[in-house]
């Protein structure tokens, strides 16, 4: 049939249409918008590079990048260590493995909003569980969410708790790809548990570690709902994430042009970071 040749095009046409509308056009429009000032209800006004000069002088934006960095520095190592530890443990012959795995995974599927509301209470200065425990063992209270030095680390800890289940699963899969006879050979040579871990396990699961790092990084860059609900970006803007700031500029002040500029810059930043991480790890291999 004649139409047969066109069938593939019909099949992909919805995607093309969707792509043009929701990806191609927005990217182009986004770039155009960065040169304008617009609050949606009034006409767009061309302002040249004004948004860019503002971006480079914006202390809130630079603060948000610093905050993101702090988040990642705490979150990623914590994530890897805990996930790896628990995955190793689960990989042994133990009973109720399914139950433990399910328990660790539970926070992953629950909405971030639930986790945030919950932890907001746990972190409460007066009545929160953590401070209750601290005072019970004789230590002083910590201003988890009200002390500017603690706020972002607190969010990083919560984010680790929420996501580590996913990474445990990923590490489990990775651990199970390590051929058993490697370990058997090592046992014959009298290797200790630690030696086996560092010499065999770690190198073999390097790709998994890399994936965890990249996924955590992208997750860290997308941080929004946690600071939005828990702290509103405070105290003293210590938990202002870049996405939260972009959202604020666009949907709170309605500085659409400036918000688009921030978004563009941030997107390029993310791509660069991921590319660098890739190069870094590929070189290792």
């Amino acid at each position: 049939m004649k139409t047969k040749k066109f069938i593939p095009y019909f099949l992909v046409a919805p995607y093309i249409f969707h792509f043009l509308l929701f990806v191609a056009f927005p990217v182009i429009f986004s770039i155009v918008l960065t040169f304008h000032q617009w609050n949606i209800i009034s006409p767009m006004k061309y302002i040249g590079l004004a948004n860019y000069t503002r971006l480079f002088q914006d202390k809130f934006f630079s603060q948000s990048l610093v905050n993101t960095l702090i988040f990642l520095i705490i979150h990623i190592p914590l994530q890897i260590i805990i996930a790896l530890l628990l995955a190793e443990t689960l990989n042994q012959k133990i009973k109720f493995r399914g139950f433990f795995r399910a328990a660790f995974f539970l926070p992953v599927i629950v909405s971030g909003v639930v986790v945030t509301i919950l932890w907001q209470q746990l972190y409460g200065f007066d009545t929160g569980l953590f401070n209750k425990i601290l005072t019970a063992i004789g230590l002083g209270r910590i201003g988890w969410l009200v002390d500017p030095s603690w706020a972002m680390p607190s969010i990083a800890i919560m984010a680790t708790w929420k996501n580590v289940g996913l990474y445990i699963i990923l590490f489990l899969v990775g651990l199970q790809t390590v051929p058993v006879h490697y370990y058997e050979a090592a046992d014959l040579e009298g290797a200790t548990h630690w030696q086996k871990f560092f010499k065999i396990t770690l190198p073999m699961i390097n790709p998994t570690i890399f994936m965890v790092v990249v996924l955590s990084t992208i997750g860290g860059f997308s941080l929004f709902i946690e600071p939005y609900v828990m702290t509103g970006g405070g105290p003293l803007n210590s938990t202002l994430s870049a996405v939260l700031y972009i959202y604020k500029q666009g949907f709170f002040y309605y500085h659409m042009g400036y918000s688009a500029t921030l978004g563009l810059f941030f997107a390029l930043l993310i791509l660069s970071v991921v590319a660098i991480q890739k190069k870094f790890i590929e070189k290792d291999k």
Binding site: F10, S42, V146, L236
Partner: protein, 432 residues
């Protein structure tokens, strides 16, 4: 066959897309849509007004609905403006938002409507009218009602501290705070009760309940923004920041968020609060036996002269340009704000209309007799300010809030520096 199915799918998709592009609600020119706020009492008032109007009007009918529930009514209005689905009349517009919409060209200028100019000067003070006139000379909003922010205080506690009158200036306020603190501190030095409380929030509108009314009180109603420049870089703003910072540093005001507990004023955990007349309805319902409270003006600097102003949280009425019959809309609004209906507003919602001479008005005499606590508010209503007629006020308050957090709450900046910085940021804001 199968491919035809796909073709049909696309066509349907495209048609749906085209259909959903902007569906306008066609309203006949003698029908009006009126949006009220979604506060229960105000809905009752709106229903009353609309029924009365429809009963007697010959020129057109009005239907009303409360502004749709959403994140905030401001957002809903913005969405409506953007989607061109605005009502004809809206009665809950915050004064600070009007200028942005006026500049976008979506509001009708009242001074172009017949009967407006005559009426408005009979209802409102000339200073009020000046306040709501835009820089371009037109008037895009009608000052409808106000909720002056005042000092709510627990009568017994204040008397117990040795005060015959509630503290009127910063010195007295600090003195009372210190005394109250010392009576309520436990052996570990942990303060359990505070003389006052203001939400430790950086949200921009929180300043309506601390910085802004205090600033207006201290400065006799000075503007925040004038001629597209910050007008608050003065000693009054610095004094207010100092006063508030002091309250937090000495733990006279709690730094922790007390709102997670039950009403802290009614349970005597705090003795005072900066708030409006809406507290009355709440307090009457939930106050414990024998609890007595009243209202006084905001505290002022020790060397203050003259009457004490405050922030009035004004809500105003606007007509959107999508209205096909603005004259009819104005006639309806005229009805809504005539003296009889202004009285009805107070009776139903316990809020005051922004009308001059309330205290001495014979029509309102009975109302004040039945609601003595409102007399303080009526007296205060002569000395009330709204917001300055400039755009982007949300951002102005947000800038002030950022400095507020650093200086007042965390004590990391001196008041002068905080005010300077805020003024600088505001000036940058208006350059664009």
């Amino acid at each position: 066959m199968r491919n035809q199915f796909l073709i049909i799918l696309f066509s349907v998709l495209i048609i749906l897309l085209l259909i959903s592009c902007g569906s306008q609600k066609e309203r006949k020119s003698n029908q009006l849509l009126f949006w009220s706020s979604n506060n229960t009492q105000e809905i009752d008032f709106a229903r009353y007004i609309v029924n009365e109007w429809n009963k007697h009007s010959k020129s057109g009918k009005v239907s009303f609905q409360p502004v749709p529930e959403g994140q905030s009514s401001e957002e809903i209005i913005l969405a409506a403006v953007v989607g061109k689905t605005t009502p004809d009349v809206y009665s809950n517009m915050w004064q600070g938002d009007v200028e942005d919409y006026a500049r976008a060209g979506v509001l009708v200028a009242f001074d172009t409507l017949k009967g407006f100019n005559d009426f408005i000067f009979s209802r409102c003070d000339s200073s009020v009218i000046r306040e709501v006139t835009s820089p371009d000379g037109h008037i895009y909003q009608i000052p409808w009602k106000i909720n002056p922010i005042m000092l709510l205080y627990n009568k017994q506690i204040v008397a117990g501290l040795g005060f015959k009158e509630p503290p009127a200036n910063y010195e007295q306020f600090n003195f009372a705070s210190e005394k109250y603190k010392n009576e309520n501190i436990d052996s570990h030095g942990y303060v359990k009760k505070w003389f006052g409380y203001s939400e430790v929030l950086v949200t921009w509108w929180q300043r309506f309940f601390d910085f802004y009314p205090l600033y207006l009180a201290a400065s006799n109603g000075a503007p925040l923004v004038k001629d597209y420049k910050a007008a608050f870089d003065n000693k009054y703003a610095v004094e207010v920041f100092s006063f508030l910072r002091n309250l937090y540093q000495h733990n006279y005001f709690a730094k922790e968020r007390l709102s997670a507990r039950q009403d802290v004023f009614l349970s005597s955990i705090i003795a005072t609060r900066f708030t409006g007349s809406w507290e009355i309805l709440h307090a009457e319902k939930f106050k414990p036996e024998g609890f007595e409270y009243s209202f006084a003006h905001m505290p002022v600097p020790n060397d203050h002269q003259g009457p004490v102003y405050t922030y009035g949280d004004p809500k105003n009425i606007v007509i959107f340009k999508t209205c096909s019959n603005p004259q009819l809309a104005w006639d309806f609004i005229h009805f809504m704000i005539d003296k009889k209906n202004d009285l009805k507003l107070s009776q139903l919602t316990n809020q005051l209309p922004r009308r001059k001479g309330l205290i001495n008005d014979s029509l309102f005499a009975e109302y004040f007799e039945n609601n003595p606590k409102m007399i303080e508010f009526a007296r205060q209503s002569e000395y009330v300010r709204g917001t300055d007629p400039y755009p982007n006020l949300t951002e102005v308050f947000d800038i002030i809030s950022q400095e507020y957090e650093e200086c007042v709450i965390y004590g990391k900046k001196a008041p002068e520096d905080a005010i300077h910085e805020a003024a600088k940021q505001v000036n940058l804001l208006y350059i664009k």
